[in-house]
Symmetry: C2
Subunit: 290 residues, 2 copies
């Protein structure tokens, strides 16, 4: 069975492991902090690759940042990682084939092949964490757009420049539907600048009315985004993943969204490919598993 060395590159952590073509993790999961400088990141990549490349058929990166349609490198700039990172020459890192994909796209592919959207040709995945990632699968293919950058969940939920988004613009879905968005919604609704997402989640679980209404506002912003995506893409399913997805009421979202769309009924489900779906999806893509 063919195997990939999978490397997940985030702004704060780099993970790696070995994954076979069934999507099974067959190596140790290693984890280290993402170094500050471009050269240090490159050194870490080389260390990992030299240790494992003889045991695998391909090297598969799941990385932050948009990845080109050739799956060889990063497009444009990325947020919280060394500013030269987009110039990384991934191919030169190994004598084995090197494949690169955006982490959210890779995770969506893992769900499509072995997870919650398996068997469904049209799916949109939303990764609700500190920010919001997106991955779109259309007709059983990862949708990348003209340059590779498609699937960015930066569509506006307001038009009055109310809340600055990490992308530099205002009022994107990410700015409301993310964990950061929940915190900011809580600050606005409670007039408490020190309130945390934990306060809202714990308060709601303890039956606090105010925290429940803050939570519901956040969840309805997620609902609003899902409705728009369903009307645009007419998908079989919207998959929710990421640390914040565990708190949402999936049944409510599915039922309410289906009431409001003009397209055909669709499902809303939670991701099931696990915490390492980015590495799994990158490995499956690199190994050509559909």
């Amino acid at each position: 069975m063919k195997k990939a060395l999978a490397i997940d590159v985030g702004g704060t952590k780099i993970y790696n492991t070995i994954i076979d073509e069934s999507g099974k993790i067959v190596g140790e999961i290693e984890k280290r902090p993402t170094p500050k400088t471009f050269d240090e990141i490159k050194t870490v990549f080389k260390e990992i690759i030299s240790k494992y490349e003889d045991d695998v058929d391909v090297i598969a990166f799941a990385t932050c940042g948009a990845v080109n349609n050739e799956n060889t490198g990063i497009l444009g700039s990325t947020g919280n990682i060394a500013k030269e990172y987009p110039s990384m020459d991934f191919k030169s890192l190994s004598s084995k084939p090197v494949f690169v994909e955006n982490d959210a796209n890779a995770a969506a592919w893992a769900e499509h092949v072995i997870g919650a959207s398996k068997g469904m040709p049209y799916s949109v995945m939303l990764t609700l964490g500190t920010g919001v990632g997106g991955g779109i699968i259309l007709d059983n293919k990862l949708y990348k757009g003209k340059s590779g950058a498609a699937g960015e969940m930066h569509f506006k939920l307001r038009t009055d420049n109310h809340r600055k988004c990490t992308c530099g613009s205002f009022d994107c879905f990410e700015a409301y539907a993310s964990g950061t968005g929940l915190r900011l919604t809580a600050v606005e609704m409670s007039n408490n600048p020190n309130i945390t997402t934990y306060d809202v989640i714990a308060g709601k679980q303890n039956g606090c009315e105010q925290m429940t209404s803050i939570f519901n506002k956040w969840q309805d912003d997620i609902l609003a985004g899902i409705i728009g995506l369903a009307n645009l893409f007419d998908p079989d399913v919207v998959v929710l993943s990421g640390s914040m997805a565990e708190f949402v009421d999936i049944e409510y979202l599915e039922k309410e969204a289906n009431k409001q769309i003009v397209t055909q009924p669709f499902k809303v489900v939670k991701a099931s490919a696990g915490n390492y779906s980015g590495m799994i999806g990158a490995a499956l893509l690199a190994l050509g598993v559909k």
Copy 2:
């Protein structure tokens, strides 16, 4: 050269003509009011078809309503046309092949083959009229989604249930970016319930500050939608068509949108396939012209 009898079915008018495989209109343009009842609509279709079917290779409908992926009939319900219309058995209307596509999708295809998005594999078309229609072309193919209903421009620009949309939900792009949306924005901003879109357009052209600021708010709502679509689809181009498109500042929209997106640069252009692009696109699709 192969030819299609093209029939455009809207809520108020039915048009028909003959179109060849180069996209050229080679017949008279006939126009009649859309009858009130299902049986009368069927009778009109039969009249048109019996008159022209011997002269053409296929019958091509561009119709209101979402059309299935088999291009044989309507999905779900449609707004302002006889309520039984979605049950129309189009195939039974002629001994020649009958092809059906949604009017906005057909118009987007006409732009792709002979119009403003020619030569560009990824395009999103917005038809700004009384409402807003949408057509999405991805990788040189009309994007229809799992059931055929994709490309509905019902994504929310607000989340406070401010303005009811024709779809039954609130605050969709259509409710702001359409001609009707401009009128409602004008009513809100002027506190004059009788203000018309004409008043805004004429006032702006005459240099009225208030009308200009109403117009700019409407145009910035269109901009907000375009930014979201560009971040989701990473298209080569967004094409604006419809009666309201002639008023917008295309250069402004392109420049501002490109400043705010996180994906790669794209164009904003006006449609160029003409007033009958729905019929032209349906004919080209029916004749298999790419």
